[in-house]
Symmetry: C3
């Protein structure tokens, strides 16, 4: 899809430095862009790439325009404008409405005429699929699931049972939504499984990454509010509630019955134990484990950065002798007091 | 399924405070239960919910009965009794015996007449599926796998090859059992793959969570004994042995050739390195990495809880100067000794 | 496949201690091997098993030959020779060329006659599958993917779109290659998805483990060079480049736009943040998070081994009082200086 720089500047509210008649057909990185591309600059690590880019135009902040050899679209938030421009130039592919002959759809399921059901799909009893829903190859949608309009279930994803999604969600390949929560009661003869009777309730504009898992609730529903974004290999336990517009990077995990507020961000491999409450606007650093309630917005961390093994091992050895060091300081304090007498 | 409180009290050995003729039809949480539900109280965090519940009855310990506004089933282990009551009121759905026409079953496979094989399933050569086995949509069962009676393989799970399960197991959606172990020998020209020739041997009543992976052994079998419970996104390396009734929460991982004892518990994201031995009755805390043999039952940890970033960074900075601090203490000690002269 | 010890010694350049006419038909571990098996010894933990093995022969280093009760193949790198012997004795199963009738192959796809396409596979538009490619049950291969000769895509794996692989790769079950990168721009109304327009480019002899995920690039391709080995449940973010012969153990993760050098090794659960560069020949310890560029080859760590909970909690408490301890040392130093006056 081709757009002139003038059209893009007007549509997205940017100042344009350059020729408004120049046309671009796609986005590209600074280093790979050519004269039909528009790129962006938002991370100073890539300033050299900016200075040497062959892009037709670059979206960037006013302060960086001096380093730009091409036309410039000036924006306060270049990455956000880039996202919108990229969506304009690269809309998702259109659907081919209909049900592939190899798909198996239960008689009690209701599928909108505008939906596209791919090959080797299985749709269970009492499922409802809305307008323009896309169901990719090999997807399984189990009993009583409801999928909102314009939602996309990608290849080999599974909605196990009693999952409902809002509109415009994307469930990425291999994700499993609505699996049994990990409920086990200890008995003298081993674990007794606790039946998992709830579902998963997903709002609008939610995205769940490849091979992520969201368990259904024990009695009530596990809940992902509007605009939640989960990256790949994320785990959400049963009965968890994730507030609107919260994002979790890859390998993050939230244990059962925890409540996460709105607009939170969990970095990669962050984790939250079960049965705690995290307020709105909390950011959790990479590989950090949150083990208590958080009632104050802010940035929370608890992980050590890796370093040269020899230096790290020295520190760990000193850490192991911290008690001894504290005792030595106490002895010195006692001697000092004795000396004061 | 409806049961009177009198029947439940008698069946599960509880004292009943309330009317034995009252009937319940399902379980629910304290806060969502209505007058046809029975609930439970086992975590003091939820005492307010107990005091205001609309449930017909609550399963709880004797000491908590005073806070219960409804009928009470008194139990020493309320959660365990709840699990049993929930199973009584909510039995799993009955199977529909037979092989869906879209399923592909090898001629050499043997499938019990009572088994249910769903749509788009693929069953390989020399597979044997026992009585009342359920195979969900999109499941692949590879060569020479043997699945015990009443076992359930849920949607899009994969048994790669040479996997045997006992009776009453549940393999959750997307789980991969019997994949190649990570065996690579370094050569001058890169890694040489070591053929993985063993299988996976799984006992009775084992549950493996969504998108978890269990590799088959290099020569012998990887082994999960009776009653093992694995949550979602758990990794079990090749040649590992997991003792009976051991449970691992989400994102836990065990590297190759490690032996884990019976009745162990690994919390979320706990890990165990390869080639070590953990004795029976070991509990590993969340996000803890076990790197040596453990020969004494007990609770083991090694992770820091996250906290406000500024405070954490101060501590990390102090940690980095630990060597310097120890030197300063040594200097003080030397001066003090000098002063003693 | 049967081979004499004499043949194996000659083929793999080993000194043979024992009868060259003895024949072996397979490999096995020291403890399970019988008189038709060859085994290996490379980890001193298993010396007792060496001394009592019933194997016909053992591959080991010269220094260990005295402990071997069987014939011995002497090798400088016993594990490497074992890998080669195992491949010789246990070649992968031959393919059955052809497309299963239940597979759905787009008209625009090109599939080599020698390829084997299993049941319930879906092959999308403009896909090309090379000679002797194996596609397992339930696999989905999306638009424009290109799969090199002798590559194996195992059950329920997904190549989403625009993925190309070299020759002799193995994509294990449930792996998802080419999923959307986690690109989101924050707006006042929540996250705006950044279209992910690149692909994934995979070299020769690459192996990707079960349920691992490799996102495609935002504009350019995510890149895995020749000989890369990823274990299970590994995450590779968009735009990442992984150098040749780098290996990552289970649950490792690399965030977006990071560059990893050649011949690196990431142990289990190691992680690398986004937008950093790691040079060649770096080894990262288990559960270590790398948060900065590394420009010097070597071994890097940053994790604590788990220990008895009581002892660990004492250390954590001392760690939390490190600031106070440093203050006490400063006070002592001031007093000492004062005393010097």
């Amino acid at each position: 899809m081709a757009r002139s720089l003038g059209e893009l500047a007007a549509q997205f509210g940017c100042e344009l430095i350059g020729d408004p008649a120049v046309t671009v057909t796609g986005v590209a990185t600074l280093s790979s862009a050519g004269d039909a591309h528009i790129s962006f600059f938002a991370n100073r690590r890539y300033r050299d790439e900016l200075r040497t880019t062959d892009a037709a135009a670059v979206i960037l902040a006013h302060a960086d325009a001096g380093d730009c050899p091409a036309s410039a679209l000036i924006a306060d938030e270049p990455y956000l404008v880039y996202a919108r421009v990229a969506r304009e130039l690269h809309p998702p592919p259109a659907l081919t409405a209909g049900i592939h002959p190899s798909a198996v759809v239960a008689a009690s399921a209701v599928v909108a005429d505008s939906a596209e059901i791919s090959a080797n799909v299985t749709i269970g009893d009492h499922v409802r699929l809305g307008e323009n829903v896309f169901v990719g190859p090999g997807v399984g949608v189990g009993p009583r699931c409801v999928v909102g309009d314009d939602t996309r279930l990608l290849a080999n994803a599974t909605l196990v049972q009693d999952v409902s999604t809002g509109a415009r969600c994307i469930i990425h390949p291999g994700a499993v939504i609505g699996s049994d929560g990990f409920g086990n009661a200890r008995s003298e003869n081993g674990w007794i499984k606790v039946p998992q009777l709830g579902g998963v309730s997903i709002g609008n504009d939610v995205e769940i990454g490849a091979n992520s898992t969201v368990d259904r609730g024990t009695s009530d529903d596990t809940l992902l509010e509007d605009g939640v974004r989960l990256d790949n290999l994320v785990h959400i336990g049963h009965n968890v509630r994730v507030g609107a517009h919260t994002a979790m990077a890859a390998c993050a995990g939230v244990s059962g019955s925890t409540v996460i507020g709105k607009r939170c961000m969990l970095a990669g491999r962050a984790g939250v134990v079960g049965h705690v409450t995290i307020c709105d606007d909390v950011v959790v650093g990479g590989a950090t484990m949150i083990s208590k309630d958080i009632s104050k917005p802010g940035f929370y961390t608890g992980s050590f950065p890796g370093e040269a093994d020899r230096k790290w091992k020295q520190k760990v050895a000193q850490f192991r002798r911290l008690g001894e060091l504290a005792d030595r300081v106490s002895n010195l304090e006692r001697s000092a007091k004795g000396g004061d007498k």
